[in-house]
Symmetry: C3
Subunit: 338 residues, 3 copies
Amino acid sequence: MAEARAPSHLISLHELKPSQVDDLLELSMRIKRQPRKASLAGKTVGLLFFRGSLRTRTSFEAAMTQLGGNTINLSAASDFWELESVEGSVMDGRAPEHVKDAAAVLSCYVSALAIRPKPAGTSWSVDRRDAEIRTWARYAKVPVINMESALWHPLQALADLMTLKEALGELRGKRLTFTWTHSPTPASPAAVHSLLLAALAQGMHVRVTAPAGYELDGEVLSQAQAVGEEHGSKLETSSSMQDAARGAHVIYARSWHSLEDYGNATLAASRRARTSGWMVDERLLALGDGAQLMHAMPVRRNLEVSDAVLDGPRSLVVRQAENRLHSQKAVLSLLLGG
Amino acid sequence: MAEARAPSHLISLHELKPSQVDDLLELSMRIKRQPRKASLAGKTVGLLFFRGSLRTRTSFEAAMTQLGGNTINLSAASDFWELESVEGSVMDGRAPEHVKDAAAVLSCYVSALAIRPKPAGTSWSVDRRDAEIRTWARYAKVPVINMESALWHPLQALADLMTLKEALGELRGKRLTFTWTHSPTPASPAAVHSLLLAALAQGMHVRVTAPAGYELDGEVLSQAQAVGEEHGSKLETSSSMQDAARGAHVIYARSWHSLEDYGNATLAASRRARTSGWMVDERLLALGDGAQLMHAMPVRRNLEVSDAVLDGPRSLVVRQAENRLHSQKAVLSLLLGG
Amino acid sequence: MAEARAPSHLISLHELKPSQVDDLLELSMRIKRQPRKASLAGKTVGLLFFRGSLRTRTSFEAAMTQLGGNTINLSAASDFWELESVEGSVMDGRAPEHVKDAAAVLSCYVSALAIRPKPAGTSWSVDRRDAEIRTWARYAKVPVINMESALWHPLQALADLMTLKEALGELRGKRLTFTWTHSPTPASPAAVHSLLLAALAQGMHVRVTAPAGYELDGEVLSQAQAVGEEHGSKLETSSSMQDAARGAHVIYARSWHSLEDYGNATLAASRRARTSGWMVDERLLALGDGAQLMHAMPVRRNLEVSDAVLDGPRSLVVRQAENRLHSQKAVLSLLLGG
């Protein structure tokens, strides 16, 4: 993604070369030690939020402005309208503008576009294609940065990888367990998908545990399997939190919605009602090997993770959030050539 | 508008002296070739959006921040309230604040106010007065910039004029045709009004074609007639797209609402339903004299203009949009003395 | 509040030492004479608006950006969600995130947090505790600045104090009268509470006049009494506008809601209906000793204050608003060490 001139995008972390990920991590840590200033003066990034955000928006705006640049925050709620994304359509419906035109025009004004699309929420097999952000990337003449699509969340995964390296040093052979947690408002599996591939590519052994019906995306799991084989790392799944926690160096808690019930709120709610007890507490943490806790936030206290764990010395959650700032500065520096 | 100290406004392009328009165009082109930096450092422009915007907001924020300044984006949806604009009224209604107070106060904080008012939409003879933005201009102690009122859209017209000059060189004697296009969500005629006068003042011959009931504002047409006589340029209207396209150097497509049915959604919809076929396609373009396409966007593809024309080599629409950035930098530089 | 490193907050003006208030006022006036530039380059302030604002938001953003820094504007309407503030709760309700987590995370991204909370509006004895902003202050690792809570409005009071000093010179012994005014949309008494204590601490004699049922907060009045005794200044209350206006050097008009009827819209409306005539006009102003008018805005013309007074030479209202900019620059400079 750092080649000069030719715009390139950041849609998912695993589409980068391993050396590019290493470069990003190294730069992230250098920026954290010694913040850069004003290297992006005069540059502007357009932020397009098709759904809301607190952490991503604040850390992204802070990253850009602290590098001397500017952001323009566009939110679907007030600043723009529905956009057509089908090629060749006769636009007599609700959308008054085509993504290809919006992308071409915004490319004249800004140095990059950071986008959080809003999946339609009806069919997982459709939404998992990430058609919207890929259409933006196809037509934009500036880099497009994914701020969490249906399938991937590369910015979160990059910050998480940085946090893992800070906490564990060399990652090869270390054990990471993703555990599903109960929440009335589950997140998307995107952050877990992205870190799953990235951690296996670093040689970590990974376990995923979730109740029946909360399996991760099948194709992502196959990709993960292949990445693991290539890098000599193991991927296991388990339906027991306790089994999965045993010996883990890091337990990564996250609530994600059921892909099986995707688009069916009634089924989803009834399945979720049968999954109490999926919470990370001190007892679970104690099963690990000096296990530390990660979570991408927002976190529902005493439902997903207990206060004692979140406020205790083994929690990495605030550091993960902080590292969003540093690693996004690295992404922006590399993409915008600062 | 460039005199020092005395604040002056940009409400409509034709209120400037011709030499001021020329200065603006020249500066726009100079800035496009060699972007200025940081000349407006420490300056702030307040953006007041009483209705939404994508292109105007992004290009305006980008223009200001790339010149080293800042914008404060205020939108009626979330940041402020209804404002009273009648002089002397007893304010026991919904509006808790008078425009004269808001204008006086905001003038203390920012170096200019850029405003997109929201016409009431009931009576054209009332809305065409642009009372709201003129009240702001009367009470503000800093320059007020019109980001599209009911009657005028000077920033679009300036970018369009710049695009015409880039595409055609000397404009005197060249032929520009405005053609109405069909859309379920027509725009306002403001952009056409502004460019109509500006193009005639440059010596262009102008034709306007639209179905019955979609005539432009009568007083603007009279003004245009007078401008044409002064500058030796012709203004013609026609009810035939084909006749109007013949020999044109530029065809400017735009959907605008009927001023006859203004404020009556039922009549407007029924009239609009009888106007299919008003689309610019390659056949129409071929009637011109090497005709190029312009459109102020958003554009409904294959309804207003065909994909083949929009994506073809004769389309100037993205360049028009890009020139918003450069020409707005020129406006800001001149008004804010950078 | 100016000590290095240890973050300290600005929740209410009277919690500062008198010498700190004096320092702030002096710096405000110095900045007004000679605006500073770029002293806060690279610093970012997060603005959290749980309810809307025009003056505060614009003056705050302008203050920060004119000092070379940046703001990130987060509004409850579109950018974030309900936050839990009770310690130890099981978060299975609507709020997906706890204030302690949001505060810890945002502290990683920005140099300060400026917050306008939204009181629940049900019980004054609950809302007057300002629990929300104090929870933010407890968990934030950066300074928290109060942009108007239920009880206090320190930024308004600081600008008002500056305006009083500019208008009257030495404040000791001068007479300030707060008079309640009629409005269908009364403000909160927070601005009056803050200035009441600050003016008494400067040695001003203060009168408060309001219809029955519109008394200020009882504990604030007791505090004010004590401040007056300490500084040799008098506090009087009166139910007659005319009596209270007699001999005043400044009449400060403000509409505030009844604390007695707090949370009961029906009672509040019926009480308000019985209070016409509470308006400041030239006749009332003439009762003072060359009295000048102050009002924190927004002001309902010819209902709260007559046009003749607002537009006349004795009105300080625009200057008050302007001084928000300068005094907030002073606050930011001291808190962020520029």
